[in-house]
């Protein structure tokens, strides 16, 4: 009884800040001046541009997640093999930028990659002048990876340091060398961390906005930017709401897939989760 009592403020909070905006969006997607309408749904599906942008967002989220995994796993692995104090010191470097506002971090990259930025200057010093860095698709990808990499490293690192060393010894005992032990024991046992890392990168990456505007110069609009533009600049609340709903469905689908994957990894990973 007490427990339910304590949860009331939380339920109120949820209702006010999560459920209400959601209903608000659903309302604006399907109603116009209090009357049912399918106009906005039709508009969202008729114009191929929206679909193209959605595809680009998904692609970028995939690429970004993959890159984060390829960079994040080895980093997390190296951190996990270090002494606790060294690892703590090093992980400050990953966590510190996270304390800074996301927009500020992205502005910083805008300056760094700009035509008079330090990277361009170094490149031109070596003879590569007029290399376009900013306003490229690569810049957008870089911004995504940079912003979300810590969310890949931390869950993997957490699983790796909790990994029972006796399993590694058992594998060695049964004749597995370092590499075999990694692929047959360490990596499978770290799957739960990999999956939550993927979830924590993919979902923010697919919904992200501003990165592409700041680093892509508006040439590589993402779905998040589209929603922002519809609602904030064009004042088209109806279409913006429909686009939001489409994105929401996409996010829900990916969460379900991740949870499925986590469950299989969980039953295999046994006591890990």
């Amino acid at each position: 009884m007490k427990r339910t009592l304590f949860s009331y403020p939380y339920i109120l909070w949820m209702a006010l800040f999560i459920l209400a905006p959601m209903l608000f969006i659903v309302y604006h997607a399907f109603f116009e001046n209090g009357r049912w309408t399918m106009e906005y749904i039709k508009a969202a599906f008729e114009d191929a541009v929206y679909f193209k942008v959605l595809l680009r967002s998904i692609m970028l989220a995939f690429e970004g997640t993959l890159l984060c995994l390829l960079l994040g796993y080895p980093t997390a692995y190296m951190l996990s093999t270090m002494k606790k104090s060294t690892a703590a010191l090093l992980s400050v470097f990953f966590i510190l930028p996270m304390w800074m506002n996301f927009l500020l971090r992205t502005y910083a990259w805008q300056v760094l990659l700009g035509s008079s930025g330090i990277i361009s200057r170094i490149l031109s010093f070596f003879g590569f002048s007029d290399v376009l860095l900013l306003h490229t698709e690569g810049a957008v990808l870089l911004g995504t990876v940079y912003n979300f990499l810590p969310f890949m490293i931390l869950p993997i690192y957490t699983v790796l340091i909790k990994l029972d060393k006796s399993h590694i010894e058992a594998a060695n005992d049964l004749g597995a060398d370092g590499i075999t032990t990694f692929f047959k024991v360490v990596f499978p046992l770290s799957m739960p961390g990999v999956i939550s890392g993927i979830t924590m990168v993919f979902i923010p990456a697919i919904t992200t906005f501003a990165i592409s505007r700041l680093l892509g110069g508006g040439k590589y609009r993402l779905y998040g930017d589209l929603i922002e533009q519809k609602i904030v600049s064009d004042g088209d609340l109806g279409l913006g709401s429909v686009l939001s709903l489409i994105l929401l469905v996409l996010v829900l689908i990916s969460i379900v897939i991740m949870q499925k994957a986590e469950k299989t990894a969980g039953s295999e990973g046994g006591t890990l989760w």
Binding site: K184, G269, G270
Partner: protein, 354 residues
């Protein structure tokens, strides 16, 4: 049975200054069943881990077939371990756990299947092959751990209390089964246990340890009948241990009386320790007795009664198949060959091996 397969030469291991093993010298013959026996924390697991290669000795070396193992990593040693805490792979089912070592050696699939299945049968887990290991009881997990190591038919198998989680009946069955496998496959066993009865029934050789030092090495008979010191005597079976004085050859005084014994070669009036097994103390008619005592308690133990009798300030533990009346007086006789005389240890029990 004669070749020294494994040899530990003056091996010591310190953990941040605390000695877990001190100057251990030990050889293990090819095909031998050697048991390390000793109280918790005496260094048994440490010894196995040094042989397996997970722990490097602080000093001394380990030889296998005369070859120094110092630079040889665990995965290259022809040794498998049944870990005290099992260390089964949680991401693999029972079958794949047991097949792990064989797959790494790239044994053909059909042979893997055959060997794993016969192992499952041996450890009484037929039909459990598809289970996840966290769906097994402690005793079942322990048997998977045994199977996972034994299936590789290594030259040497290190077993760290492999039957600790099993009930008495299953433990007895597995003891017989392990001994049979050990003999038929000719595997050298280094076996760790707390259980002295298990050690006595299964081993060719027992090494009794205490505080990182080997107290005595010998056959079960040697260790039981001729314990080298009071610790070994007490650890292998219960014992009455009391201080005494060696009056002369074949004459010892303890608890205020002189007894005949079969030991000689001590100094005149040398203080010694006297060990008498509970089953060697006889309850007799008072007029045949060496002394009388008062029965303090009697406890039924199944096969025998455990009787405590006080006399002259010492409480004797006696095992007898006949009950006596608590509170009553009984006569007690101790025959010469029941009396074992031990040298008094110097303050610090320093061990020797063989």
């Amino acid at each position: 049975m004669s070749k020294h397969l494994i040899e530990l030469i003056n091996v010591s291991k310190d953990y941040e200054g605390d000695a877990a093993l001190q100057n251990v010298d030990l050889y293990i013959r090819d095909g031998e069943f050697l048991t390390l026996l000793g109280p918790s924390g005496c260094g048994k697991t440490t010894m196995l881990r040094i042989i397996a290669g997970f722990v490097l000795p602080t000093s001394g070396k380990v030889l296998m077939d005369g070859e120094d193992l110092s630079g040889v990593p665990p995965y290259k040693r022809r040794v498998n371990t049944v870990f005290q805490k099992y260390a089964l792979f949680p991401h693999l089912n029972v079958f794949d756990n047991i097949a792990f070592g064989l797959k790494i050696k790239q044994v053909p699939k059909s042979e893997i299947e055959r060997r794993v299945n016969s192992m499952l049968e041996m450890v009484n887990l037929k039909g459990y092959d598809k289970r996840w290991v966290d769906q097994l009881s402690g005793g079942q997990q322990q048997r998977v751990a045994i199977a996972r190591a034994l299936v590789n038919e290594p030259e040497v198998l290190l077993l760290d209390e492999p039957l600790g989680a099993l009930d008495l009946q299953l433990r007895k069955e597995m003891q017989v089964e392990l001994k049979r496998m050990q003999q038929s496959l000719g595997i050298t066993f280094v076996y760790v246990t707390h259980d002295q009865e298990e050690a006595l029934t299964m081993s060719d050789t027992i090494a009794v340890m205490r505080g990182g030092v080997i107290q005595q090495i010998g056959t079960p008979q040697d260790i039981y009948n001729e314990p080298k010191n009071a610790f070994v005597a007490d650890f292998i079976g219960e014992s009455n241990i009391l201080p005494g004085i060696m009056k002369d050859d074949f004459k010892v005084e303890f608890n205020g009386r002189e007894y005949e014994c079969v030991d000689k070669g001590f100094g005149k009036n040398e203080p010694v320790e006297v060990v008498v097994r509970p089953e060697d103390v006889d309850i007799v008619d008072p007029y045949n007795a060496h002394f009388e005592g008062e029965v303090k308690s009697i406890l039924f133990m199944g096969v025998h009664y455990e009787i405590r009798v006080e006399s002259g300030g010492f409480v004797w533990t006696i095992h007898s198949t006949d009950p006596v009346m608590p509170g009553g007086k009984v006569g007690i006789q101790i025959l010469p060959d029941a009396i074992h005389i031990m040298k008094k240890p110097p303050e610090d029990v320093s061990g020797e091996s063989e």
